[in-house]
Point group: C2
Chain length 317, copies 2
């Protein structure tokens, strides 16, 4: 059994995956704030899989953790996980001795890309030679999977398409540049510019745009343009077979996809070359509630073959 | 011995590469126009390596051809090689029976990427884990090499970064979109907008910009912005270790590089994230006259292991 955790800003999604790749147990717990509490969340989530989801912890071979931050390549060290209150944390070192099994840590979007690839293939579809998972959340980033393997890049910034500028006169991005894809299409940037308090600001924007609000229409148009730009970047640079969209903003479902399809159709109309790419046919939506990131984290965990000395091991103890 | 040919719009560059990867012979001949003449050029170039460059043709094991067009994946078929007057040509089928050795065909920029990778490594530098070769010629396109292997993508459009739009109000691109990187930085687009007859229009533009001509300054600024945008796209999407610039426009050398470095410095100044990428340190210029494309074509040829029946074989005959 392989455990995978998706440590999000508010909740942590935990799954146990059996030898056939099927999800044998799943639950969610709140995520703690700061390095110690995040490490404790990992331990609590694994324990809860045993006590509440009926997973036999003695059969667990590895734990993989997806986390919204930069991971130092080849280590279990997390840096700049600002949504978790973590500036720096050697998460693998903090929890592996307690868990008694190898622990691998990966950026959450990269983990979700692996998970989305596994879910796509499991759905009976032929395995794509290459796939990009484009995460539309507070920020915008992608993970690229080729022949089932995650493309990690030279320094951990592969898939950071959110900070490609597509308009020198566009809105200022939190990164400091103008007109980044994330400044147009990031849930955080849209919420900030909408500036009305709401649990679901992007949904508010869509509702207000439907009601004719001009600033909401502008924001909604920018979201579609940003997502379409990210899709074009991924296909024109890496030439992935398919682009799977996921993340919180995709809860808008068809309302979002209709706008994005219209943007892609407009560039196909303007350009025979773009038309030849059949972009609209290469975009898919991750089904809502899919455990892509936690499943992908379990797959990342299974990649590790390091052994760890156990002290008070929670899993094998 | 492996033969590699770079079939360009006016000249064809031919090399013979020995078992150590060293260039044992090199020459250039004019390229013919149209399918039959292009196939004949390939045969003539191989023959000339024997008669004029002292290559023992009986030792040739393969021929690889780089050509400026789309190659149907997994075949030797060229389509849309507009600069050669070729709409469609099964080049491998046309020349392999005459050559009597396996023939592989690849897009010229992708071949040059493999060659640039080999030249970089041969220069004594550690082999980069991943590299992009960004070709600045009439058009703009890149080839990506990871762990020494060319990234071909799903449908042959990997590296087509020239048609990513970076300004919705930018100049119209020949592809039909607005503000493509190629519309700013392609030698063809710049020559068209400069609209003064010249053998080296981009050099003219630099000279006129130095002399204070406002439209030349605008074109020159656009070139640097387009090249910098392509570098950002390659690093933020694929996270290559290094980006090697080559192609006709790079004959401008330091004059071009100074402008590009200033553009990269401006985004690093604006954005701590961009600063953390150290883009300027990751850009290299291919030395002028480097036989990257022909050398890469020889490497592509060596990838093939198909056997071909010989009839009147030129090489082994």
């Amino acid at each position: 059994m392989r455990v995978g955790l998706d440590v999000g800003g508010t909740k942590t999604d935990a799954v146990a995956v059996d030898a056939d790749g099927e999800i044998a147990g799943r639950l969610r717990i709140p995520t703690g704030w700061g390095p110690d509490a995040v490490a404790q969340t990992v331990l609590d989530a694994v324990r809860a899989l045993g006590s509440e989801a009926g997973v036999d912890l003695s059969t667990v071979q590895s734990v993989g953790v997806g986390i919204p931050g930069q991971i130092e390549p080849g280590t279990g060290r997390v840096v700049h996980a600002v949504n978790l209150g973590v500036d720096e944390l050697d998460l693998a070192a903090a929890v592996a001795p307690r868990l008694g099994v190898p622990v691998q840590v990966e950026n959450d979007v990269k983990a979700a890309a692996l998970g989305a690839h596994a879910l796509h293939t499991r759905g009976g579809a032929p395995a794509p030679g290459s796939m990009a998972y484009l995460n539309l959340g507070t920020g915008i980033a992608a993970g690229i999977v080729s022949d089932g393997v995650l493309w990690r890049g030279a320094r951990g910034t592969a898939g950071e398409v959110g900070h490609i500028s597509v308009d020198p006169n566009g809105p200022l991005c939190r990164c400091g540049q103008r007109g980044c894809i994330e400044a147009f299409a990031g849930g955080g940037a849209i919420a900030e510019r909408w500036a009305k308090r709401s649990a679901l600001p992007v949904r508010d924007v869509f509702d207000a745009a439907d009601a004719g609000d001009p600033s909401a229409r502008q924001l909604r148009g920018g979201l579609a343009r940003g997502v379409a730009a990210a899709i074009r970047v991924l296909v024109l640079t890496v030439d992935v077979d398919i682009v799977v969209l996921g993340g919180g903003v995709t809860a808008l479902g068809d309302r979002l996809m209709t706008d994005v399809a219209a943007e892609l159709a407009a560039s196909a109309e303007a350009s025979p070359f773009m038309r030849s790419l059949h972009l609209a046919d290469r975009v898919e939506l991750l089904p809502p509630g899919s455990p892509a990131a936690a499943l992908g984290a379990a797959l990342v965990g299974a990649e590790g073959d390091a052994t760890h000395d156990a002290e008070e091991a929670l899993v094998h103890g």
